[in-house]
């Protein structure tokens, strides 16, 4: 029992020490808290991109920023409450699943400020800024670029799980390819998605890179040479396959993959940019400046909230076409869906 007593003694001492130093949150300045959706901070997708905005604010504006990971639905309310209790100046919530919890917290704490990524309230709430993105505008361009770059006449896309935010990418992509076909009299085929049936190719998760690799391989075997995976980290499995086999190229999503997954630069045709980091950074900045206002921010091609990175090896003609399409979308002369 000797050891046992020793351990108990250590524990008692420890608990005295820790109650003494518990609860301190260091640093001055503006306090920003971000609540992630499931998947966590390193999901290499929207949580990570949004946090990049917070990180930028920490570096450039000197704010005090941190995050809480949600591992389940019940955490949303709780994590937001945690930041409310800590009297955080701006609470950024990421993902449409946090819509209800954010709304409830905003209404209960009218003095707190909130920003939510990927969700728009109708009507808007005065102390919540919704940050949404017309991603199909960007994927429309991606589809156009893919159709203009394919050598086999087949391009492909696949997703993690068939849910609207994933499907939005794929719908725009298909529309872009069709538009290219119309304009250029080609017949480029899209594998892995069918807007009419609202069905396509999915791997059932956002985690398994191996599944991502395998489905990409299958699509390439069926003739596609450009693939756009919409599945967070699992999409990198597709990039890995292309890099290894050299028989295809991928289109990155959310961020510019030539930066975030630079090891695959050679096989990245382009990336669909969803500039959540910019939007989040701007929201933080507005709080610091005292200009924060609730409402809605819609990221579009027009305001660079979404965009398409440079297309590798694009001909001048294709680039010109892309510019024209972009202008058309901004003008409203081209409908993306």
């Amino acid at each position: 029992m000797k050891k046992f007593h020793f351990v108990m003694a250590v524990l008692i001492v420890a608990s005295m020490v820790l109650t003494a130093c518990g609860g301190g949150a260091g640093g001055g300045g503006l306090k920003v808290g971000m609540v992630t959706d499931l998947g966590g901070i390193d999901d290499k997708s929207f949580n990570a991109t949004a946090y990049a905005g917070v990180q930028q604010a920490i570096d450039e504006l000197g704010v005090d920023g941190k995050y809480l990971e949600s591992t389940q639905q019940a955490d949303y309310e709780k994590n937001i409450q945690q930041f409310v209790d800590e009297e955080t100046d701006l609470i950024v919530t990421v993902g449409f699943l946090l819509g209800d919890a954010t709304k409830a917290a905003a209404e209960a704490n009218p003095e707190s400020k909130f920003a939510i990524v990927d969700f728009a309230y109708d009507p808007t709430i005065p102390n919540v800024l919704g940050l949404v993105f017309s991603i199909d505008q960007a994927t429309f361009l991606a589809g156009y670029a893919a159709a203009g770059s394919t050598k086999t006449g087949k391009v492909a896309t696949w997703g993690g799980i068939n849910i609207p935010p994933v499907a939005d990418f794929m719908i725009g992509f298909e529309a872009g390819v069709n538009y290219y076909n119309e304009q250029n009299g080609t017949s480029v085929e899209v594998l892995g998605w069918d807007t009419a049936a609202n069905e396509g190719a999915f791997i059932g998760n956002f985690e398994s890179l191996d599944d991502g690799r395998s489905i990409t391989e299958s699509l390439v075997q069926e003739g596609a040479d450009i693939v756009m995976p919409v599945a967070g980290p699992a999409g990198l499995g597709g990039a890995a396959y292309c890099a290894e086999s050299g028989s295809c190229m991928v289109i990155g999503v959310d961020t510019d993959w030539t930066i975030s997954a630079s090891e695959y630069t050679d096989v990245i045709l382009t990336s669909v940019l969803k500039n959540m980091n910019v939007a989040v950074f701007e929201a933080i900045k507005s709080v610091q400046d005292g200009t924060f206002a609730g409402g809605l921010y819609i990221g579009t091609l027009a305001n660079d909230g979404v965009g398409l990175a440079a297309v590798k090896g694009a001909s001048d003609e294709l680039n010109a076409g892309l510019d024209a399409v972009k202008q058309g979308i901004i003008d409203g002369t081209i409908a993306v869906r």
């Binding site: 029992m1 420890a14 130093c21 518990g22 609860g23 591992t71 409450q81 409830a104 609207p164």
Partner: protein, 391 residues
């Protein structure tokens, strides 16, 4: 022949309870110590981390005193409620753990290893939500019980399938319940973006009607609700069922020695199915309690692995309902406090899983604990929890 006097028996019982408790307590302590080592290795201060864990799960005494002072001075309850928030939140987190832990424990008692509590939890939650949002205009007194039962039924159905396959064909329930989990996830993916999709673009169910909500006892943001007491009631019922009824006697007999149970005229097949139905029902109730008491709607990330944590809880609680309640409370406090730990000490919450894995190992191997802490072994027959592929 048996001439043990009553007080003697009581005395024996007391020391037996103490020795029963010693190993689990030491296992948890050891898990926390190893967790502290991991925290140190990852470059953080374990005292700070566990301090945050403590205040996150019980609340800070300073706040409580402040709250009381404000309340006595002004009658304003807001601060007081805030101070109680962490504690109630821990109990809210513990609620599904109690149900799910009972589910796994009941399986263990019958010699079945229900790893499928996670899938049953999911299906239960979806069923409860369905009853909750699809029926309008019922009074609460009917709608709420109906929704709770709906969840239990959904889970029971999901548990019955592997139970039946085990009983009828001898297919091992461990693999089958795991497969049923995956099928449940895929099925819910489809349901949430298909038949059960609510209004709007999001792949989530509609919000349930207020008549199906488990009543909360305090104003927002305190989410403490009737579910916790239902869980305690369930624990008592499981205890009564296991130890005070003929059905429970059968189940324990089948678990302890299936051959003898068969010899004694018990129907093994029926008991396997019955237990898996009940275990599934309990896991389904966990889903009911969560959706009707806390979340009100179901989306993809509805569970954080309650079904898997439940295994640790059942083991920690020695498959006894009282033990399960205590273990579930412990896990509730750990998980709930982890949020504060994450925020205050920036420790990833995965650390809790690590501690949990360690605790299971220590509980399953009490000899390690006894050896390390030099405790003499209490000579008694260990219950066999699981068996190989065959039976």
């Amino acid at each position: 022949m048996s001439n043990t006097t009553a007080p003697e028996k009581k005395e024996k019982k007391r020391s037996a309870i103490w020795s029963e408790l010693l190993v689990p307590v030491l296992a948890v302590v050891s898990g926390l110590i190893l967790g502290a080592i991991v925290i140190v290795v990852s470059g953080e201060n374990p005292f700070r981390a566990y301090g945050a864990l403590f205040t996150g799960s019980f609340g800070s005494p300073v706040r409580l005193i402040d709250g009381l002072q404000i309340y006595s001075a002004t009658g304003e309850t807001r601060q007081l409620l805030r101070a109680f928030y962490p504690l109630t939140e821990s109990l809210v987190t513990a609620t599904p753990y109690i149900f799910a832990g009972l589910s796994v424990a009941l399986g263990f008692r019958c010699g079945l290893f229900n790893i499928g509590a996670e899938g049953q939890f999911f299906i239960g939650a979806l069923s409860a939500a369905f009853v909750g949002y699809s029926i309008q205009g019922l009074p609460m007194i009917i709608h709420l019980p109906l929704a709770i039962l709906g969840g239990a039924l959904g889970g029971a159905l999901w548990g019955m399938i592997p139970g039946y396959l085990k009983a009828r064909f001898g297919a091992h329930e461990v693999v089958n319940t795991i497969m049923m989990n995956w099928i449940a996830f895929r099925l819910s993916d489809w349901l949430l973006d298909g038949p059960m999709k609510g209004p709007g673009f999001r792949p989530v169910t509609p919000t349930i009607f207020e008549t199906a909500e488990l009543p909360r006892f305090f104003p927002d943001p305190l989410r403490f609700n009737l579910g916790f007491f239902l869980a305690l009631l369930a624990a008592y019922l499981v205890y009564w069922f296991l130890f005070k009824t003929t059905l429970g006697f059968e189940i324990r007999s089948v678990g302890a020695n299936p051959d003898a149970a068969k010899y004694a005229g018990m129907n093994i097949v029926r008991n396997f199915v019955l237990v898996m139905v009940l275990a599934g029902g309990l896991a389904g109730l966990a889903g009911s309690a969560q959706v009707l008491g806390v979340d009100y709607w179901v989306g993809q990330g509805f569970s954080a692995g309650y079904g898997f944590d439940a295994i640790a809880i059942a083991l920690l609680g020695k498959s006894h309902p009282l033990g399960v309640v205590l273990a579930a409370l412990l896990f509730g406090f750990l998980r709930s406090g982890a949020t504060n730990m994450q925020s205050m000490a920036s420790i990833p919450i995965d650390i809790i899983s690590i501690i949990q894995g360690m605790v299971i190992v220590f509980i399953a191997a009490p000899e390690i604990i006894r050896w390390f802490y030099r405790i003499r072994a209490v000579k008694k027959d260990e219950t066999v929890l699981t068996r190989g592929w065959g039976s």
